[in-house]
Symmetry: C2
Subunit: 149 residues, 2 copies
């Protein structure tokens, strides 16, 4: 087993190291934007496309429901999200961005994109190729996740 921190890595080892690098970028960006935590930043980004129910959030974030309760509590106390009762089922809550949360989320997300883009000076053709393959990996995973339901 070779040292995973240097030298030329095989496919899987390289992807794992890249994931740690990108998570480091993400965590640093979180601190840079209003001292967010990585988890709070991820929550905000997941709400950018509109309010999401607690159950769906828990599944997407791979969190137990009690863990999500705490995360939403802390993010709500900072004024970045609010809970909204579902009109159909009074047990259900939707989580939505506040105006402050949406502004912060947009700026944070754009910053992370810039940081990741500037990690390496790649040829445009290489970027497109990588984007295509990574989209294929993500699509294959979603397909297999659907099968498991």
């Amino acid at each position: 087993m070779t040292d995973p921190t240097s030298g030329k890595l095989e496919y899987a080892a390289a992807l794992v190291q890249l994931s740690f690098l990108i998570q480091r970028v993400y965590a640093q960006a979180s601190r840079d934007y209003d001292q967010l935590t990585r988890q709070q930043a991820k929550l905000l980004c997941m709400l950018l496309s509109g309010p999401v129910g607690m159950a769906e959030l828990g599944a997407s974030l791979s969190l137990e429901k009690s863990s999500l309760t705490g995360l939403v509590d802390r993010t709500e106390q900072r004024g970045l999200v609010t809970r909204v009762r579902d009109s159909d089922d009074r047990r259900v809550w939707q989580v939505a961005l506040t105006d402050a949360g949406e502004g912060l989320a947009r700026r944070f997300y754009a910053h992370v994109m810039r940081q990741v883009e500037s990690l390496a000076d790649l040829d445009p053709a290489d970027r497109e190729y990588v984007a295509r393959i990574v989209n294929q990996i993500l699509a294959d995973y979603r397909g297999s996740a659907d099968l498991r339901r």
Copy 2:
């Protein structure tokens, strides 16, 4: 700003989503191997190439020294690592895998590699291409990190 959880993503967005997917795989594998935490698993893997000093570990893991003290404490209490005094400088400690820690780390690491390999059914040529570009990203980052020192 498009929903980052579905559809075709641009280069940076795709890499960020992939990093979250791989971290989920890594965390699940940690739980599957003796109920490791993600951080303990990462520590074990960093020691696979031999003992490492606390200072270097802290830099590699992006942890404050007190945070690392706690992580090594908990991992040591589980019998997976040991502290060894440096022979030259009696303030310095090296962290090393125990036999149990090394066996667990090897099995865990191999499992993560298999899991990541099997995320998608890619052409061998695509895997090689992705591996080459990701290695370039990692090398560019290390180069810029060296410049910042």
